[in-house]
């Protein structure tokens, strides 16, 4: 294992893009991370920004004292749990694809 790690290290340090399918996958994964993070931040900050810029709209009553603001707050729980679970499964898929794409066998 030590020898193969050493070889991997050298290969990584010498070449610009190594190994090709790996590089593609990492880029893909990073794009996914950026999208999911920005998406979440958008949903998250919609609440304080909504309160800041549209106080009247946020105070519209939907149901029994619950305003739009409350609905959005509860929606955030759903989004947080949902995106968290989505990432968990997506990350697993990325792991599998990386293992297939790269010339090594994990031993640890």
């Amino acid at each position: 294992m030590d020898q193969s790690r050493e070889r991997m290290r050298e290969a990584l340090e010498e070449s610009e893009e190594w190994p090709e399918p790996m590089e593609e996958l990492i880029k893909k994964k990073n794009r996914f991370l950026v999208r999911i993070t920005l998406g979440f931040l958008g949903v998250y900050f919609a609440l304080p920004l909504g309160i800041l810029f549209f106080p009247n709209g946020m105070a519209l009553e939907v149901f029994h004292h619950s305003t739009v603001a409350w609905a959005m707050a509860f929606f955030q729980f759903v989004v947080i749990w949902g995106l968290g679970s989505l990432y968990y499964f997506k990350a697993k898929r990325f792991d599998q694809r990386m293992e297939k794409a790269a010339p090594w066998r994990r031993k640890t």
Partner: protein, 513 residues
């Protein structure tokens, strides 16, 4: 002193000391002391992380804040929960894959320079200390009320206990105390919710209907605008919470206590669900406080509403139940400050003592000795400061903690992990600017400057309680400017190595790991 309360506190004391004794029998190496040899499962670590998050501030503070401020108190809690996702997506796994014991390891992986490790370690210790003191102060005040022990004595008891746990039990005692406490806390809160709902014949709408009659806020209870003078302040608070909580070192080091990145993901996912459910429960509990305790008795006991949970327990289940919930609150404070001590200790012993002073050549016994000495000194220092602060308002330390964590650690971690052009000059300038911006903003802000009861009796110059909206962009800008203006000695090969290791979890470095 009430005997029921006393017995419950003794139970917590004995329980935690038994855990510590059991841990001390097993901790022989530094790896065991710092990260318990990565021996936790994902679920166990999830419980521990949830425990770190549900600190006294959330359990005692959020329940009280919802009772007093309604909607604003509730969305405050959302900030803590929301910060988990950026942490989960961008930071948790790379931290686990690149480091051994500390955040210093992660940054050092990219920039192998002694000064970087030193600075990162100092900021870790600073943030942990800053966070420890308000927890100790709040704990002292709560214990004084519950057990009728003088403030000084209660701070001394908690401080001594946290040092004992760390010195003898290290990370193993810390983790297990945290896990047991989370289970106690969640079940206690769940029980309270059940009793409360049964009182109202399981009709949540009936509870909601009665609130405007009982709360002095009346209909405004359900509307935003109670807690914050200005909505920009609310926005800045959310930014500070979401960026700061994700960068608290005592949360990040928890990722070293599991064996691989899959377990890291399991632990974060478990904690997101647990914390979310917990905050939904605090919402109902906050409503219950309004109806069954009333806001004026609550404020009469403690103006910030910190005693809401024990008071509600008393109203729901009498003295016995109140004693149980108070003991759980005590355990909560204890577990969180212990986690902070162990984080600061590890950072000192590993980063500063072993790597900076001894150039990585300290032996195992030497490192363990340094760690235990450090725990003793850090603990004593925190106790001393907390004793001095009894009559001071410690809230500025909380806002300083989150601002410093958000502005010093978050830009540093994000840019180090993802920006190819970043270099060590940028890292240093970002950290220094982040610290300076947070410090100045808090110093000129309403937490310190206040005409009536501030440390400086003058209207605040920066009218933001949490200055994240200023300090975080300032730190990012300074870090980017530092990297652009200095010579481009960012090492491409190192960055490739970092990317590979952080995405695959295959350790190419450090070699002796």
């Amino acid at each position: 002193m009430n005997l029921t309360y006393f017995l419950f506190f003794l139970a917590i004391l004995f329980g935690t000391l038994i855990i510590t004794y059991w841990a001390s029998q097993r901790e022989k190496t530094t790896r065991q002391f710092y990260v318990m040899s990565s021996g936790l499962t994902g679920m166990q670590n999830g419980l521990a992380i949830a425990g770190d998050f549900i600190s006294a501030a959330s359990f005692l503070g959020v329940t009280g804040s919802i009772a007093l401020n309604g909607f604003d108190g509730f969305i405050y809690a959302l900030g803590f929960l929301g910060s988990f996702l950026p942490l989960f997506f961008l930071i948790a796994e790379p931290v686990r894959n690149l480091g051994q014991y500390t955040i210093g390891d992660v940054i050092y992986f990219r920039f192998p320079e002694a000064r970087i490790r030193l600075l990162t370690s100092m900021s870790t210790m600073l943030v942990s200390m800053l966070y420890m003191i308000p927890q100790l102060v709040a704990a002292g005040l709560v214990i004084r009320f519950l057990l009728h022990v003088p403030y000084h004595l209660s701070v001394l008891i908690i401080g001594t206990l946290m040092v004992i746990y760390v010195v003898f039990g290290g990370m193993m005692a810390t983790s297990w105390i945290q896990i047991v406490k989370t289970i106690l806390l969640l079940s206690g809160a769940f029980l309270m919710v059940l009793i409360l709902l049964s009182r109202f014949h399981w009709n949540v709408l009936a509870i909601v209907e009665q609130i405007p009659e009982k709360s002095p806020l009346s209909d405004r209870f359900f509307r935003p605008g109670q807690l914050f003078a200005h909505p920009v302040d609310a926005l800045s608070l959310h930014l500070s919470l979401i960026a700061g909580t994700a960068a608290l070192p005592h949360i990040l080091v928890r990722f070293y206590t599991v064996k691989d990145r899959l377990a890291v993901r399991q632990s974060v996912l478990a904690s997101i669900w647990l914390i979310g459910l917990f905050y939904l429960m605090t919402l109902i509990l906050g409503f219950g406080v309004v109806l069954l305790v009333g806001t004026s008795p609550l404020v009469a006991m403690d103006p910030s509403g910190n005693l809401a949970a024990p008071l509600l327990a008393d109203a729901l289940g009498g003295d016995f139940f109140a004693a149980f919930i108070s003991a759980v609150a005590f355990a909560t404070v204890l577990a969180v400050v212990t986690g902070l001590v162990v984080t600061a200790t590890t950072s000192f012993a590993h980063d500063i003592y072993n790597h900076f002073l001894k150039k990585g050549k300290a032996t195992e016994p030497q490192q363990l000795k340094a760690a235990k000495m450090a725990a003793l000194i850090i603990g004593t220092f925190a106790i001393g400061l907390s004793l001095c602060m009894q009559n001071m308002n410690a809230t500025f330390l909380v806002s300083l903690t989150f601002s410093v964590a958000a502005a010093m650690h978050l830009p540093l971690l994000i840019l180090t992990l993802y920006w190819k052009r970043f270099n060590s000059t940028g890292a240093v300038s970002g950290m220094i600017a982040g610290f300076a911006a947070s410090f100045i903003c808090v110093l000129l802000g309403p937490a310190v400057m206040d005409p009536d009861h501030g440390l400086i009796p003058h209207p605040a110059i920066v009218p933001l309680e949490y200055p994240g909206i200023l300090s975080i962009p300032a730190a990012f800008l300074a870090a980017a400017a530092g990297a652009w203006l200095s010579k481009p000695h960012s090492d491409d090969a190192r960055f490739r190595l970092l990317r590979f290791q952080s995405h695959t979890g295959i350790r190419l470095e450090p070699k002796d790991f």
